[in-house]
Subunit: 206 residues, 2 copies
């Protein structure tokens, strides 16, 4: 389906849009035709925003979340509970938890999980900076909010060992069990087995 | 689902990607995360291609197809048959016909079809330039390759009247009938009715 257009500018723009994730040449073509109809200022705003994102983006010195400034809006917000630190794999996880509106503490973005297959060891992740951060004081709880995968569990275990020397530090993890609206018959047996073993007192959810 | 990110640069980039056709905020977010992982040169190549497309694009002086130069690659190609001009609505139609590999003549891009509802009259389209082009000589056939819609038919009729004064000019239109792989029972009755009325001699297709 490689197609030759009558304009190299056109061709290059289709090529570039095609490099975006999930964008095939048909969709890229539609985008290019759209750009041709946009007014020049809007196109400049778009290319400027994409360019600045890549050139000027920073990562928070404290939590390593994406930020425009040295210390991100979450870390520098006095209304947030700085005694609780939620450890996550990446910035998407921060967004996902923020979107719930249920968490008022701070974050610590590891930048990945321990995965020998991908060549990712503890020293490639922001684990030492987490230990230093807890060591500096003021943190009473660390939530290990990593995925329930083998790599996530390995990383949680590794971090828990590193933090074991801090007396009185509470280490927690995300609750595991049925998802909202799960039906028992369609739940995988490992999840269901764990949910029975780790059953909790009945309460009416808000 | 409006979400607040910890970076305005990030937020703006998501906003801008969301303006592209068919791109929601979730996909825009995925694109932004992808851009963050791209190397700087690739991002510059992308924004540069989009920017140049909009700033530097030209339209062919002869056929009004998109072009990087004054006269497009199709019009200036000596191997193409300059005696046949195919009239189409827009540049996508040129691409669609080029993609078939079945046509070796030239094009004339109207820039739309006559549509009173959209406020588009004959003077908004490249119709006079088509008449002038035919009047200049060297054209023996004009193919009216517009969509089989009311607007397309109206425009074809209007153009055919304008070109009627050129003796010996052959006016043709695209064949209409069943599409490839159409089953009779699922074909709309207007198409089927016309296909019976305008039936042609049986031949084995290549």
């Amino acid at each position: 389906m490689e197609q030759h257009y009558s304009s190299d500018l056109f061709e290059h723009a289709v090529d570039e849009f095609s490099k975006l994730p999930g964008i095939g040449r048909k969709t890229a073509l539609r985008m290019v035709l759209h750009v041709l109809r946009m007014d020049v200022n809007s196109v400049d705003a778009m290319t400027g925003a994409i360019s600045r994102l890549r050139h000027d983006v920073k990562y928070c010195r404290v939590c390593h979340n994406i930020s425009d400034v040295d210390v991100c809006q979450i870390c520098s917000n006095p209304l947030r509970d700085s005694s609780t630190v939620c450890v996550v794999e990446n910035i998407q996880d921060v967004m996902a938890i923020e979107a719930t509106g249920q968490y008022r503490g701070l974050y610590h973005v590891l930048g990945g999980v321990i995965s020998p297959v991908d060549g990712l060891g503890p020293s490639d992740l922001e684990i030492q900076s987490l230990v230093d951060r807890v060591g500096a004081g003021g943190v009473s709880e660390v939530i290990l909010a990593l995925g329930s995968t083998m790599e996530g569990d390995t990383t949680s275990f590794f971090i828990s060992r590193k933090l074991a020397r801090f007396d009185g530090l509470r280490l927690t993890m995300l609750a595991r069990g049925l998802s909202v609206n799960d039906e028992l018959q369609y739940t995988d047996e490992v999840t269901l087995g764990r949910s029975i073993t780790n059953r909790v007192e009945f309460r009416v959810e808000m």
